[in-house]
């Protein structure tokens, strides 16, 4: 699959650029490129649902990130963390790559997913739920409870942001009894 490797290389380069760029704005844009690469990747791997979602989420995330960074003083942040931490990180990543490669050999090869459970979904999605889109039938019927959790995660983060962005965190002691909202 040459196109997969091409896109993956593109993503990797984008990621490296995003991490190593000095200016925040350019690295935000680079991470956007990585996200678009992932979106293309989803298309190649036959996942149109994910491609759409990834695209729009990417846009939203970029808007939020840019709004957050723009205008904030980009004080140049030079020196990286110390050598010891870097070395231990290198060690860790070496071990991680070796272990992951060893473990990857044991799982089925690329392109040959086992699909013990998923065959059931594919066979029964239409006549049991009536939805043509199997992914939708999974997330909203077979595993709808997961989606409740997902909606709750989003709700929690909205509430969290609302709670974080209050004007004032604590009341003064003398105004304790006033109602708030």
């Amino acid at each position: 699959m040459p196109e997969l490797y091409a896109v993956m290389t593109f993503m990797l380069i984008g990621a490296v650029i995003a991490v190593s760029m000095r200016g925040l704005l350019s690295s935000v844009i680079a991470v956007g490129a990585v996200g678009l690469g992932l979106c293309v990747m989803f298309l190649f791997l036959r996942a149109p649902d994910l491609a759409i979602t990834q695209l729009v989420v990417e846009i939203l995330m970029l808007i939020i990130l840019i709004r957050a960074t723009i205008g904030r003083g980009v004080s140049r942040i030079h020196c990286e963390s110390g050598i010891w931490i870097g070395a231990s990180f290198m060690l860790f990543s070496g071990v991680f790559i070796l272990a992951a490669c060893a473990a990857l050999k044991e799982i089925p090869d690329f392109g040959r997913a086992l699909m013990r459970v998923s065959d059931f979904y594919i066979k029964n999605a239409l006549n049991k739920t009536g939805a043509a889109n199997i992914v939708t039938s999974i997330i909203l019927d077979f595993r709808a409870y997961d989606t409740l959790g997902e909606a709750t995660v989003l709700f929690a983060s909205v509430m969290g942001v609302l709670a974080l962005m209050r004007k004032k965190g604590r009341k003064k002691t003398d105004e304790r009894d006033e109602p708030d909202c």
């Binding site: 993956m8 990621a15 991490v19 991470v31 996200g35 996942a47 990130l65 942040i77 931490i85 942001v161």
Partner: protein, 107 residues
Amino acid sequence: MDIVLFLTGFYALLMKRNLIKKVIGFGIMEYAVNLFLILVGYRSSGEAPILDNKASDMLFVDPLPQALILTSIVIGLGVTALMVGLCIRIYQHYGTFDIAEIRRLRG
């Protein structure tokens, strides 16, 4: 290759001293995880898992990881939004995104 992408994000998340860079690193790490999950579910010459009226005997790719990724994208979005919120709050308190200057809590 996917592992390298993951490690890049991991590197940024742990090593970088800029808060926004950390958020970006988190984003990259999450892309890598999603990519890994979708690669797991691919089946050669499979079709996208959407039925239509005509043929019934097609070979589909695994739909279950796609459902999982959908959920994990949403979770990532939520976490990122909250992280950005925290970053803005930190910026308001300290006037910088540099964690070297934000070391009030130690030990």
